[in-house]
Symmetry: C2
Subunit: 338 residues, 2 copies
DNA sequence: AATTAGCACTCACGACAAATGAGTGCTAAA
DNA sequence: TTTAGCACTCATTTGTCGTGAGTGCTAATT
């Protein structure tokens, strides 16, 4: 279908996008001729441009202006033209290496690293916690007849507020409760627990309260983790001239400051897609004139989160994708060396 | 000094500020006459305005425009004119009550509540953790030769990653370590601990590693807490026409997204000041055309944090201060009822 | 001495017109 | 199929002018 573009048209389209990515100005036929295709005349390029426009790849702000790429053009560019060469990779790698001492730092503030290198606003989202497995639940005796709840998962330990214990025979109570808690929760996935409120009823009446508190703790934890979104470098957006328009800024802020919207845009139904590139409102109603590039990262086969950038449509896709890929490789290395 | 304004001048200044707060337009002498002072002529008001301008309370965008209040005017207004009546308080109270079921909700997302009621961007900052006292430090036996560190403070429990234990005789090791940890840390303030790295040297060599890990945990905790800033309702800023100017928006974002700057602006050397109102760049170089109103909250005599709003200079100081005060009262009630 | 009416003056703002020039589409020739 | 040439379009810039809001000043009034 759309893949049938002649080489020259591809070349013209690429020239147009490259130029627009760096200049943010409509490009004229003669500009393309001078800088990218000196062997043909501007008139030829003009007729090619007319065809490309008919095909929906280009638009013209007005009749006496040059052309700018449409969302479809970026889409085509990312899908069919863009290639990340070893050179690009090498370059990114060396930037990553000189800027950050260890991969640990990158994991910790991944969003900041990505934002700094790409020069776009970046976002880090923690993945669904459905598959976290609880290894054990323990009460630890504290003071004043309270106990601390520890929920040990395959992904770290959750702890939260103390819970109150019944007055008498605390030591014994905790022991029995720990046994019950272990039998009820250990080995279960978070998602199972959250959806099976009836666990409580099956238990002994004396421990009902403790169970409820533990359950709430787990539910809260799940909810909080899933809402977690880190945004870095919001002010980088002002580097791009399209964000001299207050309406674009409003739009940007309203997306970036709204966790739910961000999730909606980034979350991919298809679990197997590693890199996601959403361009313009064809991809999502809210993304007018914007683009989101994101990657899913895994650790030991388990999805741990998504990292990406959000910026103007005329984004440096090559660089962004190279950075995200390179970080992916670093994760792999980290996994293998351990 | 500046306190010597005649009643009529006060009245005019108040009229000007009130009008500008709601309209965001320069006010002319005749407008003041019509709406606020029908008993004198506009010419009289004009000459008063000229004097007020000379005194630095007013500025004129250009010669054929009305006047707008300067930072100094707002300052004077807040310090010498503004009074919060019982009526205002009642009104805020009823809004708070109808909007939020319990004080708990307000504590939990204080920033959101304040932003919703005032209609300004709000911020919540956790206070210095210097005075948090450690009650105990405990290792809890986990699996695979690891232990979880629990640091119990008068302000909740900190837990963090597991730490590795020496291979043999785990149970005994933990017991001894717990004793040592208790003796080293219990009763000390966070600030003391962070500044006394030499604790380690005094301890037995076998436990050096555990001590270091615990110490790092405490230091990290302190650092993280202090950096914590919650911002709510950033997009509310677009409700105010001064933020149709992209430069003001840039300025706003750069302040609001920069924890350090915010701390710098809000942090008050004088520990006794409860309400702080900073207006314009007289107060802080970065606050060009903006104002920050914030309050310090205490619980059991201990400062727990600051809550406030940031917005245009022509802020509804009355409402904002009333809301912050009312929330303060709720804290007091909460304390007394417990 | 304070207030006021009256009037000349300033200046932002919007409307309109004219000039400019960048870039196009089309046509006819190579 | 490509290209040179040219007429055409239209955003942008610049300049002029009229309008009106609001002021500052002065002279008269209380």
């Amino acid at each position: 279908m759309d893949k049938e573009l002649s080489e020259r048209r591809k070349k013209i389209l690429t020239a147009l996008i490259d130029s627009y990515i760096s200049e943010a100005e409509p490009i004229s036929s003669s500009a393309i001729q001078e800088k990218y295709l000196p062997d043909v005349s501007s008139a030829t390029i003009r007729s090619e441009l007319a065809t490309l426009e008919e095909m929906g790849f280009l638009t013209q702000p007005h009749v006496s202006a040059g052309r700018i790429p449409s969302s479809k053009a970026y889409r085509y560019y990312v899908d069919n033209i863009l290639e990340i060469s070893d050179d690009d990779t090498e370059q990114i790698k060396s930037i990553l290496e000189t800027k950050y001492d260890s991969i640990k730092e990158i994991v910790k503030d991944g969003a900041k690293v990505v934002s700094d290198i790409t020069n776009y606003t970046s976002m880090l989202m923690i993945s669904s916690t459905d598959n976290i497995v609880i290894n054990d639940v323990k009460l630890v005796d504290m003071y004043d007849g309270t106990a601390l709840v520890l929920v040990v998962t395959n992904n770290g330990t959750i702890k939260d507020k103390d819970i109150k214990l019944p007055e008498n025979n605390v030591k014994n109570y905790i022991e029995v409760a720990n046994g019950l808690l272990y039998r009820s929760f250990a080995g279960k996935k978070l998602v199972e627990i959250v959806h099976s409120h009836n666990i409580i009823d099956a238990q002994l009446h004396d421990f009902k309260e403790v169970f409820e508190q533990v359950l709430n703790l787990i539910i809260d934890y799940k909810k909080n983790r899933e809402e977690q979104v880190v945004i870095e470098g919001k002010d980088k957006i002002f580097n791009y001239p399209e964000y001299n328009d207050i309406n674009n800024v409003k739009n940007f802020i309203s997306i970036v400051d709204n966790k739910d919207k961000l999730h909606e845009i980034v979350d991919e139904k298809d679990g197997s897609i590693e890199f996601s590139v959403k361009i313009g409102k064809d991809a999502d109603e809210k993304l007018e004139d914007m683009a989101v590039v994101s990657a899913k990262y895994k650790m030991n086969g388990e999805e741990i989160g998504q990292l990406g950038v959000i910026g103007p449509q005329r984004m440096n896709y090559k660089k962004v994708l190279a950075v995200l890929k390179e970080i992916g490789k670093m994760f792999e290395d980290l996994e293998n060396n351990k």
